[in-house]
């Protein structure tokens, strides 16, 4: 009997699995491995947020909530959108989901028909094309050039649009590059989108609290409010409040789309954890200082990592505006051989050799549809980062 549906066969096996299982195996065998591969903050969830969760349990908030989220959390999300971006969403224009990922899943399954195209700037988070394909859509990749800060140019977006384009998907700031769009940069893209009224816009703003040197990532609707009736603004608590394990993502979108997403969610998972929702209310409404504390640390780490990587022979590291990633080029290392005798034929070989010989785990660029580069997450302690970058320098010096 045929076990797996065609829709799952379309999803490519994760390119990061080989790397993560190797790192795990090395660690288990007692080797000192520094993990720079995870996409999550090393900080702990703020105490006021934990306390709010505990208080919710004590009040007995352990029951089903509305599928789209508790009224309190939807109100808190609306207030955040208003305060942070000047966007007014009514409660029926907001959906709470099990992570930002479910927002994407709900939106794409609710709208994409077989053959519809989704424009995705690369490098990109691997799950984007996979979710598009799960919904029977076709990902259309447009390359953001490194010398343009890995950002898309307006003419590239214009050229990628066809009559089959259903969505334009923007991740700002970006995983894996940390690249972020200013209001002026974003306006150039929204001007293009204004000329194409049949395209939905999805903006994944999950990292938008994390930007440095006074840079302020813009979001689509503050730059172009006229796109409101076809834009999904996604955000969540995972990155800004170090709440990855709580699984809280949310979206603002036109009511008729939210209704469809709510319907799909009512048939796939129902509400996300009532306790996590109470924690999220406190995260969004409570004191925001913890974000500033994390930002100071992230900025310091970013600056150190960029400097140390640029001092490694063969690497070139652009200094990004936000998130907690850098995405250095290793193209000058291709064709060389490591000290341990491993041939560096591509970014994956580079990362595997680096892991085997120096015990540093990163993710290779191919996993983000962008070979010749690799991703480093600097969401780990300064000491660990310094040690890891020193090892990377030593590894690169050993290449011949």
């Amino acid at each position: 009997m045929k076990l797996i549906a065609d829709r799952l066969d379309r999803i490519s096996p994760s390119l990061t699995i080989a790397m993560t299982s190797k790192a795990r195996a090395l660690k288990a065998s007692g080797k000192d491995v520094i993990g720079l591969a995870a996409g999550e903050p090393d900080f702990d969830t703020p105490q006021n947020v934990k306390d709010a969760a505990i208080a919710a349990i004590q009040r007995g908030e352990t029951r089903y909530t509305d599928v789209a989220g508790t009224p309190e959390l939807r109100k808190a999300v609306a207030a955040r959108f208003r305060q942070d971006h000047g966007i007014d969403y009514k409660p029926e224009e907001i959906l709470i989901a099990t992570g930002g990922k479910q927002v994407i899943f709900d939106a794409f399954l609710a709208t994409i028909q077989a053959g519809d195209e989704v424009i995705i700037p690369t490098p990109c988070w691997v799950s984007y094309p996979d979710i598009v394909q799960l919904a029977e859509g076709t990902p259309v990749f447009v390359r953001g050039d490194e010398n343009h800060g890995f950002k898309l140019r307006a003419e590239q977006l214009e050229a990628a649009i066809t009559p089959k384009t259903k969505w334009f998907l923007l991740n700002n700031p970006s995983n894996p590059t940390g690249a972020a769009y200013s209001a002026a940069e974003l306006k150039a893209l929204t001007d293009v989108l204004m000329r194409h009224p049949d395209i939905w816009i999805f903006t994944d703003d999950i990292y938008n609290k994390l930007a440095y040197d006074g840079f302020r990532p813009a979001t689509v609707l503050e730059v172009e409010p006229r796109l409101r009736d076809r834009t999904v603004t996604m955000n969540g608590c995972s990155k800004a409040y170090a709440m990855t394990g709580w699984r809280i993502g949310y979206a603002g979108a036109p009511a008729h789309l939210i209704k469809q997403m709510d319907k799909l969610q009512s048939q796939s998972t129902s509400n996300t954890s009532s306790i996590s929702q109470a924690a999220a209310v406190e995260a969004l409404n409570g004191p925001q200082e913890s974000i500033e504390v994390m930002k100071v640390a992230y900025k310091r780490r970013r600056d150190m990592v960029v400097e140390m990587l640029n001092a490694a022979p063969g690497l070139r590291c652009h200094k990004p505006e936000g998130a907690f990633y850098v995405f250095p080029s290793m193209q000058a290392c291709i064709g060389k051989t490591s000290k341990g005798g491993r041939k560096i034929s591509n970014d994956e070989a580079f990362c595997l050799a680096l892991l085997e010989e120096e015990g540093v785990a990163c993710v290779h660029g191919e996993a983000f549809m962008y070979p010749g580069y690799f991703r480093i997450s600097y969401a780990t302690s300064d000491e660990q980062l310094k040690d890891a970058c020193t090892r990377i320098q030593r590894f690169c010096q050993g290449l011949h």
């Binding site: 009997m1 045929k2 797996i4 549906a5 829709r7 799952l8 999803i11 994760s14 999550e40 969830t45 934990k50 969760a53 349990i57 004590q58 007995g60 352990t62 089903y64 509305d66 599928v67 989901a97 099990t98 992570g99 990922k101 479910q102 899943f105 399954l109 609710a110 709208t111 028909q113 799950s127 979710i131 799960l134 919904a135 259903k166 969505w167 009224p197 049949d198 009736d229 076809r230 709440m243 990855t244 394990g245 709580w246 699984r247 008729h256 789309l257 469809q260 709510d262 319907k263 799909l264 009512s266 048939q267 796939s268 998972t269 129902s270 509400n271 954890s273 009532s274 306790i275 996590s276």
Partner: protein, 400 residues
């Protein structure tokens, strides 16, 4: 304007969720509504589960969970399957989802191709059919007559299976009828299924511990071991441990199938709230005394509801073996007019008039594939049940 996908056109929002939302909305307007629409225990989550959640939050167990469930929870689930069902499942044969609903949704999405048939004994939990439809499948219902206690007959099941059948759903004790087949009756269904090796079997055992009058629980993979290799056994913490808000469901099945569910979940929501998983492990491993205490209370309530509904003119109520629902027949009320002047032609008319005039929320049988019935949940306190049944009696007395 960009448009929506056809995928969700024939899918409806979960009707019990819709009715619950309506009741909540009336309550917010100050109306004293008693909801018997919810499939949700009114008890509090056990203390030791809550303590485990505190500890998890406080100790920083708030990072991304492994996609298929934490090792600790999977081990607790394996022990549960062994203890309660005499079923052996290894770690790669278990998955944790955001509620039992997601386990079922993932199973369909991972296996059902367009046109595949899903056989569902009816009356049934509507979400089965909607989830099958989201996956492109065709729900095929098998009528379970009231004179067979709402249980499927082997010959009817046999007749419903075709070469296109992908899944057969089993749900005992069943939502909405509370029906439970004996071990012998279940084995007779197993005999049919053994003859059709191309068919997957899903056993939704969510109400396992809510059985009355000395009935004992059995599940298909245990009764007919030959089916275990193609059976997905679904269960969860919501109903047994009054943990609906925590969103913890799980499934046991062959590794290859579990892998498909895992891949699907990876694209939809990733892992389940870490705090919820810690609570679930404690609930499964901890003292089970509360389960029996609650069961005994539900049994008393069932007797109360059945007796009070049978005293209402026009209503006949079958006494079910399990779950916390009754599914009375309303045939004697049709064709009449309510005190408020509403014509009662269908069960949908009946529940609408009952809500408007007596402020009692139930769900129409049509939503479960069998009219003229309604589903009454007795998962609420005894005083509210008595009051609500009194109002139903009054409503029926006033019909003319």
């Amino acid at each position: 304007m960009p448009d929506l996908a056809k995928r969700l056109q024939n899918v409806q929002i979960s009707p019990s969720a819709a009715m619950t939302a309506k009741a909540r909305e009336m309550r917010a307007r100050g109306i004293n509504v008693i909801s018997l629409a919810n499939g949700e225990p009114d008890f509090a989550t056990p203390r030791h589960a809550i303590d485990a959640a505190y500890q998890a939050a406080l100790s920083g167990d708030t990072k991304y969970p492994p996609q298929g469930g934490t090792p600790a929870l999977k081990a607790a689930i394996a022990r549960k399957f062994k203890r309660d069902n005499n079923l052996d499942y290894g770690p790669d044969e278990i998955i944790v989802g955001n509620g039992g609903k997601q386990v079922i949704f993932n199973a369909f999405m991972a296996t059902v191709d367009p046109g595949d048939e899903v056989v569902i004994p009816s009356p049934f939990w509507v979400s089965y059919a909607d989830m099958a439809k989201v996956a492109g499948g065709v729900p095929v219902t098998v009528s379970c007559p009231q004179n067979n206690g709402f249980k499927p007959r082997p010959e009817d099941l046999e007749a419903a299976i075709t070469p296109r059948t992908k899944w057969v759903m089993l749900n005992f004790p069943g939502n909405p009828t509370g029906a439970v087949p004996s071990r012998t009756e279940l084995a007779a269904l197993g005999e049919v299924l053994v003859r059709h090796p191309h068919v997957w079997i899903m056993s939704d055992d969510m109400y396992e511990h809510l059985l009355y009058d000395g009935h004992r629980f059995s599940t298909i993979a245990e009764v007919t071991p030959a089916l275990k290799a193609r059976t997905l056994t679904v269960n969860g913490c919501s109903k047994t441990y009054a943990m609906t808000g925590w969103r913890i469901g799980f499934g046991g099945g062959p590794a290859q199938l579990i892998r498909g569910l895992f891949n699907m979940q990876g694209q939809a929501t990733a892992g389940v709230s870490t705090v919820g998983q810690a609570a679930a492990a404690a609930a499964l491993d901890g003292p089970q005394g509360l389960v029996e205490e609650h069961r005994a209370i539900y049994e008393q309530r069932r007797d109360l509801v059945v007796q009070m509904l049978n005293a209402a003119p026009g209503i006949t109520c079958h006494r079910p073996e399990g779950a916390f629902y009754v599914f009375p027949n309303l045939a004697g009320c049709l064709g009449k007019t309510s005190k408020g002047g509403r014509k009662i032609e269908t069960d949908t008319d009946f529940v609408a008039a009952l809500l408007e005039e007596k402020h009692v929320a139930c769900v129409q049988g049509a939503a479960y594939g069998l009219s003229p019935h309604m589903r009454v949940s007795y998962a609420t306190d005894t005083a509210s049940i008595t009051e609500a049944c009194g109002r139903i009696q009054e409503f029926c007395h006033e019909l003319s």
